[in-house]
Every structure is written in structure tokens, then in C-alpha cells.
């Protein structure tokens, strides 16, 4: 393809190729440049390795936080049941009346078990646990109410069903009021969403850092090859031809950095596995750490590639434009 001399045939790729064939050769060229730029990175192994490691570690942190959130979520999903309803019995009730209430409640189909804690029993327990033992002796009378603890059947442990059961139980005339203890569950969920938010924020910050790191690395490499770029421009290289190797370098940084991050997470999980098993054993739980699955690896890699591409693209657009052959 000659701009000035229409009849000139340079035998280049632009000649006599149209449509699919031209696209095919453009793709082939693109891939060839990709392989070349991988070889180019191999020429400066230490510098490339450092960039890749920085990148990998910057990606490891958000990936780890993600794994933490994922596991905590898994643990807390086991806690989503409201296991107990406390019913505070009216004060004027005597023991016999309370016992009938307990028996009647036990017959409810929604209820698995019922237990009664009298106020003297509760006070004794409270003295032991709270450490206020001496001080409580000065009280004239026991301020604690009689409590009936109700454990719903599995079906009625879900927050909403438990709430319905509570309303039903509160309708019993002996019951002053009931309390469904889901506050801690709400708190856990609030904490979880806070954790998720912070993972998102930290992740965002680190990912922008990754773009900047790659951008800067590519900028240095552009500065390093300033003369080469000038010569390329002088012998008629298009911008695309000059840009592609740098873009590829960014992409390779992303691919390898993403893989490093994935491996770090895997290693970390492997390292923590026995410790986690021990903790789980103490709590008599059969909890196992969940790592990253194939889909998440794919997402991590494409994210890394996207970042590598963006970083290098920004640098290439910004800096190669300014390098012009100034001297004949």
C-alpha cells in the first residue's frame, strides 16, 4: 500500500489482501507480536519478575480478603436460625400457674422444647456469672422475672417464622412479653456487610495501584526504548505497530501477576488449613476452608489482564505520542 506512488507494489501485508484474509493476517501479526513481547520480558528477567511480584501481591490482598468474606459468610449462614424465644411471665403468677403454662406450651406443634427458669434460679446464675455476687445481696427483693425458654422446631427457627411464633406466644394471657433474640444475628450481618464494604474499598484502592504500577513500568520501558521508537517512526511504523508490544507486555504482566496471586492464595489456604481444622475441632464443627474455584480464578485472571491492559494502554497513549523523530 503506497500513499504517494499508487502503482508501487511493496509486497507488504497491505497488498492484495482484503476482507477475511486481511483480518487473519492482522491477527497473526498481533499474536506474533505477543510472543515477541514475552521474549522481550525474558531479556530483563529481574525487572520483569519484580513487576510481576508487586502485581501478584497487590492482587493477593483483595483476593485473600474475598476468601475471608466468603468463608465467614459460609460460617454465619449456619447461624441464621433464631434458636430461642424468651417469654417473661407475668409477676403475679404463682408456680402452679406457670407450670401449666409450660405444659401447655410443650403441646404446641411449633415448639420443640420448653424449659422454665424461676427468678431465684436466674438470680443464682446471675450471681455466679456476673461477679456482682456481694452487691446483689443488698437488694431487698429479686428484680429478675420468671422466664420460660422456648426452642422452636426447625421450621420455626427462621427469623420470620420465629417472629410469627413470638406474636402467637405473646397472646398467651400468662405472658407479659416475649423476646426473640435475633439482635446478635443482625449485628453479625451488619459486621459482615461492613467487612464486604471494606474489602471492596481496599480492593478498589489496590486495583488502582496495580494500574498505576503497570502504567509506570510501561512508561519506563517506553522511555528506555525512546530511540527505537523514533527509528520505527522514521521507517514508517504505524502507531498501532509501535503500541502493540507495550500493550502485550501489560497483558502478560496481568496474566502472570494474576496467576501469582492465585498461587499465593492457594498456598496461604494450604498453610492455614491445619490451624483452621484445629479451631473447628475445638468448636466441634466440621468447617473446612473454601478456596477459590475455577470461575473465581477466571475472574481474577481477567481482572488482572484488564488492569494490565488499562495500565499499559494509558501509558502508551500518553507517552508514545510525544516521541517524535526530531533530527534527520
Amino acid at each position: 500500500m503506497s500513499l504517494l506512488f499508487k502503482s508501487r507494489n511493496t509486497q507488504g501485508a497491505g497488498n492484495n489482501r482484503h476482507g477475511i484474509s486481511a483480518i487473519y493476517f492482522a491477527m497473526l501479526n498481533f499474536i506474533r507480536q505477543g510472543v515477541n513481547s514475552l521474549g522481550e520480558m525474558w531479556r530483563t528477567p529481574i525487572a520483569s519478575l519484580m513487576t510481576i511480584l508487586v502485581l501478584g501481591l497487590s492482587l493477593t490482598l483483595p483476593a485473600t480478603l474475598y476468601v475471608v468474606v466468603k468463608n465467614v459468610q459460609q460460617v454465619s449462614s449456619g447461624f441464621s436460625d433464631a434458636a430461642e424465644i424468651s417469654l417473661f411471665v407475668k409477676e403475679e403468677l404463682n408456680d402452679a400457674q406457670t407450670q401449666t403454662l409450660v405444659k401447655r406450651l410443650a403441646l404446641y406443634p411449633e415448639i420443640e422444647s420448653v424449659s422454665y427458669i424461676s427468678k431465684s434460679q436466674a438470680l443464682k446464675e446471675f450471681k455466679q456469672v456476673s461477679g456482682f455476687g456481694q452487691a446483689l445481696d443488698y437488694l431487698d427483693e429479686n428484680p429478675l422475672p420468671n422466664v420460660v425458654l422456648v426452642t422452636p422446631t426447625v421450621r420455626y427457627r427462621k427469623p420470620q417464622a420465629a417472629q410469627q411464633l413470638l406474636t402467637k406466644l405473646e397472646a398467651e394471657r400468662e405472658v407479659e412479653f416475649g423476646k426473640l433474640d435475633i439482635a446478635w444475628l443482625e449485628r453479625l450481618n451488619a459486621l459482615l456487610s461492613l467487612l464486604k464494604e471494606s474489602v471492596f474499598t481496599v480492593g478498589l484502592l489496590l486495583l488502582s495501584a496495580v494500574i498505576l504500577i503497570i502504567g509506570n513500568t510501561i512508561r519506563l520501558s517506553i522511555m528506555d526504548k525512546k530511540e527505537e521508537i523514533q527509528v520505527l517512526k522514521l521507517v514508517g511504523a504505524t502507531n498501532a505497530f509501535i503500541h502493540t508490544p507495550f500493550i502485550w507486555t501489560g497483558i502478560w504482566y496481568g496474566v502472570i501477576g494474576g496467576f501469582v496471586a492465585f498461587m499465593s492464595v492457594v498456598m496461604m489456604l494450604w498453610w492455614l488449613e491445619s490451624a483452621v481444622a484445629m479451631v473447628a475441632g475445638v468448636y466441634q464443627s466440621n468447617f473446612v476452608l473454601t478456596g477459590l474455584n475455577g470461575n473465581e480464578l477466571l475472574i481474577l485472571l481477567s481482572l488482572a489482564i484488564g488492569l494490565g491492559f488499562s495500565g499499559s494502554y494509558i501509558s502508551v497513549r500518553k507517552y508514545i505520542k510525544d516521541i517524535e523523530p526530531d533530527k534527520v
Binding site: 530511540e227 527505537e228 517512526k233 521507517v235 514508517g236 504505524t238
Partner: protein, 225 residues
């Protein structure tokens, strides 16, 4: 081949490098461009290779006005022009073959053809035995010839040379000039910028002389003609 019409170039800062320069270089012509340092020789070559744009006037190559060439088309203009530099501008990271092959690779030529062409070009400048050498291991004259091979490897219709003999002794200079004559005989238009008046005097070619940005006729060259 090349036509300048009242071309002026003023650099930012007010330096007037060229003033109303008009001339024409015929197809297949070889000409020298001379003048003292700073007379505007480099600027004139830069206008032809679109490294600079004229402040006024028009530059035509083969009848195409370079003013209408868009920035993204500049690479394609340069593929039609072989440019030879005083400091040869070879890439030290690559060997001689890769340096010479550069214009062909950029053009996307098939690698079989590339090998053939590069060998032909290196053969023409007499360096076929240095194909695998690094440029830094070659002598100045050899490096210059590699630069020439790179400029002619895709057989451009127009060759520009900026002080191609600047760093060479008279004997080597003559050899380089013989090369240019040879390309010229095969139909390539050649424009050589040089301040080596002795060299010009020995050859019977037209000479364009710049003085402070203006084109004047050179008495020495006229004497020879």
C-alpha cells in the same frame, strides 16, 4: 519527484529556518543539497519526510501535496522514502539482519521474502558476510552501509541522505557516493544533504545551496557544470 513551492518554515520561538524555497527534483534525478550549518538543510529534509510541516507553501512528492496528508498517514509516506542518517541510527539490540529487515517487518511482508530482500540489500552494499553481526561490532563505514541497506531494502522511489559521509574519510565517502549513483542509475531519485564541497565538486550533479534559509545558486557547482 519532489516539488517545493514557496516553502517557509518558522520554528516556534521565531527562528526562520527556510524562506520561500522553491525547487523541483525530477524523477530519477540525483542532487546535492549544500549550505553552511544551520542553513536549513535538515529542515528541508524534515519537510519531505513530514517530520515537520511547512509554515507556508506546499511540498509535493510525486504530485501529492504533503499538506493534505493526515498525521495518521505519515507512516505510509515514510515507507515510500528511504532515509539515511549521519549517525546511521541502527538499533544496537538487534543484529544487522533485523535492522535491515525493519521496514519490511513494519510493512508486514512474508518472512521468506524478507530474507531474500535483506540479503539482496546487504549484498548491494557489500556486507552480506555481516548478516549476523551486532551493529556495534562494525566499523563506522560498515554501519553507514547497513543504514543504507535499511533505507533501500524496500526499494523506495526516493532516497534522502543527511550528511551520509559526515564521519567518513574521503575514500569511504567516495564509496558511499558510488552506491548512491548506483541506486540512481536504477531509477531512484536521490537527494543528498552534505557540506562536503570537495565531494560535490568531484561529481557532476546538480547542487542546491541554502544560505540562511534561502535557496541560492552555488558558484562552485555551476563551475563544475
Amino acid at each position: 519527484m519532489i516539488r517545493f513551492e514557496n516553502v517557509s518554515k518558522t520554528y516556534p520561538g521565531g527562528h526562520r529556518a527556510l524562506e520561500k524555497v522553491s525547487f523541483e527534483l525530477a524523477d530519477g534525478e540525483l542532487a546535492f543539497l549544500t549550505g553552511h550549518s544551520g542553513a536549513g538543510k535538515s529542515t528541508l529534509l524534515k519537510l519531505i519526510s513530514v517530520m515537520e510541516r511547512p509554515s507556508a507553501g506546499h511540498v509535493y512528492i510525486n504530485g501529492v501535496n504533503l499538506n493534505v496528508v493526515k498525521n495518521r498517514q505519515i507512516p505510509y509516506v515514510r515507507r515510500d522514502i528511504g532515509i539515511i542518517f549521519q549517525n546511521h541510527r541502527l538499533l544496537d539490540r538487534y543484529n544487522v539482519f533485523d535492522n535491515v529487515a525493519l521496514p519490511l517487518v513494519i510493512d508486514g511482508m512474508h518472512h521468506k521474502n524478507i530474507t531474500k530482500r535483506v540479503h539482496a540489500a546487504l549484498d548491494k552494499v557489500g556486507l552480506l558476510d555481516k548478516v549476523k553481526c551486532q551493529p556495534s561490532t562494525l566499523s563506522g563505514g560498515e554501519q553507514q552501509r547497513v543504514g543504507i541497506a535499511r533505507a533501500i531494502v524496500n526499494s523506495p522511489p526516493l532516497l534522502l541522505a543527511d550528511e551520509p559521509t559526515g564521519n567518513l574519510d574521503p575514500e569511504l565517502s567516495m564509496e558511499i557516493l558510488k552506491l548512491f549513483e548506483d541506486f540512481n542509475r536504477h531509477g531512484t531519485a536521490v537527494l543528498i544533504a552534505t557540506h562536503d564541497l570537495g565531494l560535490i565538486a568531484r561529481m557532476k550533479y546538480r547542487s542546491l545551496t541554502l544560505d540562511h534559509g534561502r535557496l541560492i545558486t552555488d558558484p562552485l557547482a555551476q563551475e563544475v557544470l
